[in-house]
Symmetry: C3
Subunit: 162 residues, 3 copies
């Protein structure tokens, strides 16, 4: 029937739009999980935000695979921050979903307690390259670069503008 | 008719998914209202983000009910921050909705003007326990703990990781 | 048929709710684009977030039209921040959509590298008055006021509380 065909068509379009909104929401949920995981010293949970062979490429080092990422979080730099009291602040990000992959670009601040106040110790650009898995969106390759006036952080930001 | 039964079923599933997205959006809207309310010294509006007997449990004190919360915002600590120029920065948060209740976990920074620059005076973990009311989502119990390297802030974060 | 009329009605209501969610998401996407544009020195892209005769009204100056905004971003203040390494952090915001216009109210921090750490140089309230265009949501008039304890920043925040 004509009416039903039209209804089915509208319903299908709407289902695709809702799926797109859910993708965006799930990606934000993933990004909002990073801070709570690392700042509670939940190293395995943090590493599982990546796919098993996912990459975390930062200006201070590169780690490949969940085991390497979890192990890095057990080392001195992060453990010293945790002992002082630290939080990782992931910003609003520009998200572009393309089928089963997505890129989110924004910032992350590392805030560490310093006596009676708090210090913004590192401020980086973050590029999250994500993939849809059966367990939901996960990080395939994440790049972080210190915002130091040089070309690397700026380049990551520029790539987000189409 | 078979076709209609299928359509109704798809429509119902879609309505539930849209309701879930709206819940998440309304909860973010609530959290985004806290800063504008307290930083404009709108103490009654801030208190009305809680249910009438809602609780605000912070490391520096605990307040029960809208009246107590509004009254606390009139006291020296907050009024001195306001006079200097302050803003409360609520972060992206991990939100889990379960029927008519929800929990959101993230961070809040208290930024206060200090001469020619701004100081991050307090950085806390925030756990927002929310309830759906006829007027929308409201705070039933909100817990804030200073990120000082101790177990309390970390514990709140860990609870957000299922 | 009765069943179909009911289905069409439910579908239409759902389409309106999905459109409202998409509006909110697109507005957040616009706000999340400002930092990546200005912090990568992409001055034209930043200016195109405004409509052609859009206004950027800040406590330190007012610029009218995309050309004036792009030109201001080429001047000393912003270029010096860029050379040190800067990021513009747009916060969660309270968004109210009314047909083809919208208002979003929140905060923005300007973070600049300062030796081995980062300084929060300016913290402002931001009121984004937006319009729906054929190319999506754009800024018609954006107001930023330093959070200095005075009435202007507070007034912008209070206007967001209905």
């Amino acid at each position: 029937m004509t009416v039903d065909a039209d209804l089915v068509d509208r319903l299908e379009r709407l289902e695709r739009r809702v799926r797109a909104l859910e993708d965006e929401q799930e990606i934000y949920e993933l990004m909002a999980s990073y801070g709570p995981a690392v700042d509670s010293n939940s190293r395995e949970e943090a590493a599982r935000l990546w796919i098993s062979d996912g990459i975390y490429d930062v200006d201070v080092g590169e780690w490949r695979g969940q085991e390497a990422i979890a192990s890095m979080l057990g080392e001195d730099f992060h453990q010293t921050c945790l002992a002082s009291g630290c939080s990782h602040q992931v910003s609003l990000s520009k998200v572009a979903v393309d089928g089963d992959t997505a890129v989110a670009t924004g910032y992350m601040g590392l805030i560490v307690r310093d006596g009676e106040t708090f210090e913004l110790r590192r401020q980086t650009v973050q590029r999250w390259e994500l993939v849809r898995t059966e367990a939901g969106w996960r990080i395939a390759h994440r790049t972080g670069r210190l915002i130091d006036g040089g070309p690397e952080a700026r380049g990551l930001l520029a790539r987000a503008l189409d």
